[in-house]
Every structure is written in structure tokens, then in C-alpha cells.
Amino acid sequence: MLRVERLSKAFGGVQAIRELSFALEPGRIQSIIGPNGAGKTTLFNLISGVLAPDSGRIWLADRDITGRRPFELARVGIARTFQNLQIFFNMSVRENVMLGCHRHLERGFWRCLVRSPKIARSERACRERADEILRRVGLAGDPDAPAESLAYGALRRLEIARALATEPRLLLLDEPAAGCNARETKEIDALIQGVAADGVTVVLVEHDMRLVMNISERILVLDHGERLAEGTAAEIRANPAVIAAYLGSTAAGASDAA
């Protein structure tokens, strides 16, 4: 599915990602964990084209996608959410999701300029699709409300909804449960499992170990931009290097919960 080969990225003197290689298998939920500054978000920025790598290559199903721009990557099926929310606060809840449909829509300039019937039809279908996705993520309440009226946890789900609207093959979720309470986290857990069941490959960066251990089929542990370990939840929990670098005493709590 996604293959990363000897990827490196530095910011000034800080080596955020160092010679990192790994591969993701299709249709699974995989997590990337590690201490703050391990390079998790940088890795997402590299895969989604927000940043260009210094060296190394990224492959999506045998296609070299290194250095492609974000909108091109969206069009080959990579979608993402953001740790620090990137919501269109100048739009309604529904419009935020409709924007995600962009690449599938009729959008020729001259057609838009005279609002041809084709545009009107395509917009109607997009609207229905957006409402369907909003129902799926549990935000069907008031789609016409401004996005800024939503609570924090709901905004996280709105980002997921927008990402789903692009109809991705690979979905990168950057801390989807950050700032969510236990009930919201459970909802997000169920939502992610549902998305994966539809055949979307999901990659999760998350600090909520309960969620990570519960949901992930494989886990990649990063430390200082390098791979520290990779394996199933049980293997990671038992790995002494991981415990020392990251899990520490929380490992015990997480394994009790799982």
C-alpha cells in the first residue's frame, strides 16, 4: 500500500526524520506512536505532501509520490486530519464536508460562471453526500450552522468527515481523540473501525494508548525520527526499548485496559 524508503527531513539542525523505512499493508488500522518530537506529525506532513523530504522516497501502491503537492496526493487517494485543527471557520458545517468532495465534482470555470444545470446537479449530489457523511460521524444535527459553533470534539469529527468526503484509500489521522472525553473517544474508535472495514487503510497518530492498543493491528514506534520498534499491540507493549523510551509506567495501565 504505502512504502517509505530511507526518508529524511531536517529543520535547521534538528533531524526530525532520519533514514526511516517502513511499509503499510492495505485495509488495516496501523498506529504511529512515540514521545513528543519523535517526528510523527512531520511524517504525516511528508506523506501528505505538506512538506517535501530532504531525501528518500515514498511509494503509494507502486507509484512514486515523492515530492508531489498535497492536492495531487489527495487525488491519488491520500486524506488526512490535523493535530491542530484546520477547519474552514468561514463556512458552514456542511460546506466543510462538501469541500472534501471537490475532486469528484463538476467544476469547469465557464460552467460555474453561468451555473449550468450540470453544476447544479453535481452540487445537489455533493450536498446529499455531505449530509450522509455527517450522519456517519454523528454530526447530522445542524449542517447549516457555522463550523465555529461546534464544540472541540465535534470539530475533530468534522475533520474526519471532510477527509472521508475525498473518498481516500489511505487516511492519516493526526490525534483524532485529542481533547475528547471517554465517550467521544469511543465514538471515534467505532468510526475508525467502520472506515477500515470499508477497505480504507487507516494510519493513526495518537497519544491515547487505550485507543491505540485497542484498535491497531500494527504499531510503529518512532523515537528521534527513527524506527524504535514495529509489531502488534502485544509485541509493542512487551518491548523493553519501547517501555523505556515512551510507554513507561502507562504501559501497565494500557495493558490492563486492553
Binding site: 491520500i78 484546520q86 460546506e95 471537490h102 467544476r107 460562471l113 452540487e123
Partner: protein, 314 residues
């Protein structure tokens, strides 16, 4: 297509059409016609500029340059080379479109307000060229421009000009509203709201920023060409930096991301200086003051603030 009368666009469009149709019957003399026609021309520029500033969140400080370039294209091609006015007008739009594209394409790949700086420079360069190329433009002394004609029909007199400009404004507003309510309009607002998120959701942000910049420049050129024929005499004053600031002030006063706001902003700031003679000497100061006061007290602009107030109270 099904019309929905309760949608603000349909109501707004009807109101504007009605206002344009009824207004001339209340205009007492040629002076008022002149103000109304100038309002219409400024409004065409501002509707285009608002697509760029209010919707896409990019700032241009050089739109008077495009206005002036369109105006001089029409003037020079008709006066010096004998081209038909419509062909000259279209050529001006094409030239300005190509120029805007060439300037915007490298700059708008970047995020941030680089466009403001680039257009500031471009506008000043255009003004200098218009002043210096005396053989073509007549320099600071200006040059006369002949009558406008559409397919052989000469546009002459207050009434004909009024209908031509009013009709052009109505069509411009209609096209702008269509664009805003299309996937392109949504993409523009997304670029304004969170550019990185728009890009990762599949929007070619550079393409849309360039598109709307070129479109707004072409509209300014169109209005400039009409203006040249309407006034009949052109000086480089029309292309100065101060004129660019005027256009931006009109957009901000009327309301960012409000097409009808731009018409209102253009109307107020075109008409007021004509009626308040104190404006004449202190025009630049007053425009600066209006810009500051609106930014502080009505950051959303007149029309969105009033609509919001009406919605809350009714």
C-alpha cells in the same frame, strides 16, 4: 433550474435589477447621471476585487493599474490604430489577463500576502509607463478617446451609458454570485479559511488563486475600457496607487465576501466626494479614515453587518 425566491442571491439580484431600473427616473440632471454611471463602473471593479480579497483572502494594491491599462488599451487602439471599440475592449481584457497571469503565477504558489507587494509594484510601474510613454498615451496631459459603439450602435448620451453600465454591472454581479455558489467559490473560501486543509482535501489552491486574480484584473480592465470611452478624455491619474486604495476601501466598507456590499461600498465612496465638497481637498485623508474606522468598528463591512443585525432583530 428551479428558482428559490427566499435565497438571498435571487432576492438580492432582483433588488439590484429593480434599483438599476428605477434609479434613472429619479435622477434630476446630467450631474446625477454622471455619478450613477461612475458608481456602476467602480462597482464592476469592486465586485471582481471582492472575489479576490473577500473570498480568496488575497490582497491586490494594484487594481487601478489594470483599470488604467484597460482604459488606455481602448484609447490607444481606437484613437491611434482605428480599431473598433469592442475589439479594443476585448484586447485590453486579454492583455491584462495575460499580464495578471504572468505576475500571479509565480507569486501565488507561495502562501501569505506576497501578492499585495507584487501588485503594489506592478500598479506603480503601470502608472509610470502611462506617464512616460507620451507618444502613445499623451503622458500626463492625457489623451482624448472616441465614442463607444457596440456592433455599430454608437453609445451616446446619459441614458444609453446608464443602461450599458447598469446592464454590465447586473451581469457581473450575476456571474460573481454563480461563481461563489459553485465548487470554485467554495474552494476560494477554503483557501481563505485554512489553505493547507484545502490543499490536502484536493483543491489546487494555486490554480484558484491565480484564476480569481486574473478574473478580477480582467473585470477591472473591462470597466476601465468603458470608463475611457465614457469620459472621452483619459489621464494617468486613473491608474494611480491612490485609485487602487480607493477600490480596496470600497470593498472593505461594503463588506468582505459580500458581492452586494461591494456595490454599496462603490456607491457610497463614489457618490460622497461628489456631493460633499469638503471631500475634494481631503479626499485621501477621508478615505484613509474610512478604511481605519471600518476596520475597527465594522470589520465585516456595512452590508454583512446590517444583514446580521436585521436577522437578529427580525
Amino acid at each position: 433550474m428551479r428558482a428559490n425566491w427566499r435565497r438571498p442571491r435571487t432576492g438580492g439580484l432582483l433588488t439590484l435589477a429593480l434599483a438599476i431600473a428605477l434609479l434613472p427616473w429619479f435622477l434630476p440632471n446630467a450631474f446625477f447621471f454622471d455619478v450613477a454611471i461612475n458608481v456602476g463602473l467602480a462597482a464592476i471593479v469592486c465586485v471582481g476585487l471582492n472575489l479576490l480579497i473577500g473570498y480568496a483572502g488575497q490582497i491586490s494594491l494594484g487594481h487601478a493599474g489594470f483599470f488604467g491599462l484597460g482604459a488606455y488599451c481602448s484609447a490607444i487602439l481606437t484613437q491611434r490604430y482605428g480599431w473598433p471599440p469592442t475589439l479594443a475592449l476585448l484586447s485590453g481584457m486579454l492583455l491584462v489577463g495575460v499580464l495578471a497571469f504572468a505576475v500571479a503565477r509565480p507569486i501565488l504558489r507561495l502562501r501569505g500576502h506576497y501578492l499585495a507587494m507584487a501588485t503594489l509594484g506592478l500598479g506603480i510601474i503601470i502608472a509610470i509607463v502611462l506617464n512616460q510613454e507620451t507618444a502613445l498615451t499623451g503622458g500626463p496631459d492625457g489623451m482624448p478617446v472616441g465614442r463607444f459603439a457596440v456592433f455599430g450602435l454608437a453609445i451616446d448620451g446619459d441614458w444609453m451609458w446608464y443602461w450599458l453600465v447598469g446592464g454590465a454591472l447586473l451581469v457581473t454581479v450575476w456571474l460573481a454570485l454563480n461563481l461563489i455558489e459553485s465548487p470554485i467559490g467554495r474552494a476560494l473560501r477554503a483557501v481563505h479559511g485554512a489553505e493547507i486543509a484545502a490543499a490536502t482535501a484536493g483543491v489546487d489552491t494555486t490554480r484558484y488563486k491565480v484564476l480569481v486574480f486574473v478574473l478580477s484584473a480582467v473585470l477591472a480592465s473591462f470597466a476601465g475600457s468603458l470608463f475611457a470611452h465614457y469620459t472621452g478624455f483619459l489621464t494617468p491619474d486613473e491608474a494611480t496607487f491612490f485609485r487602487s486604495i480607493e477600490f480596496v476601501t470600497m470593498v472593505v466598507l461594503g463588506g468582505m465576501a459580500s458581492v452586494f456590499g461591494s456595490v454599496v461600498g462603490a456607491a457610497i465612496l463614489t457618490a460622497l466626494p461628489q456631493f460633499l465638497t469638503v471631500f475634494q481637498d481631503y479626499e485621501q485623508v477621508v478615505f484613509g479614515l474610512v478604511l481605519m474606522l471600518v476596520m475597527i468598528f465594522l470589520p465585516r463591512g456595512l452590508v454583512p453587518s446590517l444583514l446580521g443585525y436585521a436577522a437578529r432583530s427580525g
